[in-house]
């Protein structure tokens, strides 16, 4: 399946991209993050939340279908 991964704020800065496509088998959020942290070591010490199709999810959530995965650093609105 294909995932669209989106990076925001300090995470876009850490990875030097804002969006990428990733082909993967069905996996948990933590498995996906492991893969991304391996690819972008600078993500490892960052604090962030994960949203799948715009809904916040836990790290044990299983991704089974094509989805938009967003890595969201601490919120700073207002």
């Amino acid at each position: 399946m294909q995932l669209t991964i989106k990076y925001f704020g300090m995470l876009a800065e850490a990875t030097a991209i804002t969006e990428e496509q990733l082909h993967t088998e069905s996996c948990s959020v933590s498995q996906l993050l492991e893969k991304l942290q391996h690819q972008y070591p600078k993500l490892s010490d960052k604090d962030f939340k994960v949203a799948i199709n715009q809904q916040l999810v836990n790290h044990n959530h299983i991704i089974t279908t094509e989805a938009e995965v967003a890595l969201l650093p601490p919120f700073a609105g207002g």
Binding site: F8, Q54, P73, F75, A76, G77
Partner: protein, 147 residues
């Protein structure tokens, strides 16, 4: 879940006092309103390790943020007896001293608008995926985090 398309809350750059003034004027025709309450978020020129913040550069996960703003609107109308409410948030550069958030709630009675405004502002700060790059005078930066 309702399928109503969320409004776009974001405006490019700072929110001008003219825009805020016009927004107030537009409510003169709504004569059931007896009380307005307004929150204006302003960018602070904080000094950190001897360097002064000159601006905040805002970005957002816009689709999710607008959806969250929509949910906040629905929850606020559910909770409080409001006649209307408006939210505007900046994207891009907002200089110190300029306005980056404008929340406007109106009701027939005053007590409601005090509580409603606090609820809206606190929920925005906690739940909406907006990110702020605090830019210093020497063009270095750090990332803002709501407390």
């Amino acid at each position: 879940m309702k399928k109503k398309k969320p409004k776009n809350v974001f405006v490019p750059g700072a929110i001008s006092s003219q825009f805020i003034g016009e927004s107030i004027a537009k409510h003169q025709t709504k004569t059931s309103i007896g009380a307005h309450n307004i929150f204006l978020g302003q960018v602070r020129a904080d000094e950190i390790d001897g360097k002064v913040i000159t601006a905040i550069d805002y970005t957002a996960y816009e689709e999710m943020a607008n959806q969250k703003f929509h949910e906040i609107r629905e929850a606020t109308f559910e909770k409080f007896d409001l006649t209307c409410m408006h939210i505007y948030h900046s994207l891009g550069i907002v200089n110190a001293g300029e306005i980056c958030l404008f929340v406007f709630v109106s009701s027939p009675r005053r007590k409601v608008v005090f509580d409603a405004l606090e609820f809206v502002v606190e929920t925005i700060k906690a739940d909406v995926p907006i990110f702020g790059k605090e830019v210093f005078e020497d063009q270095t930066h750090q990332w803002k985090q709501n407390s």
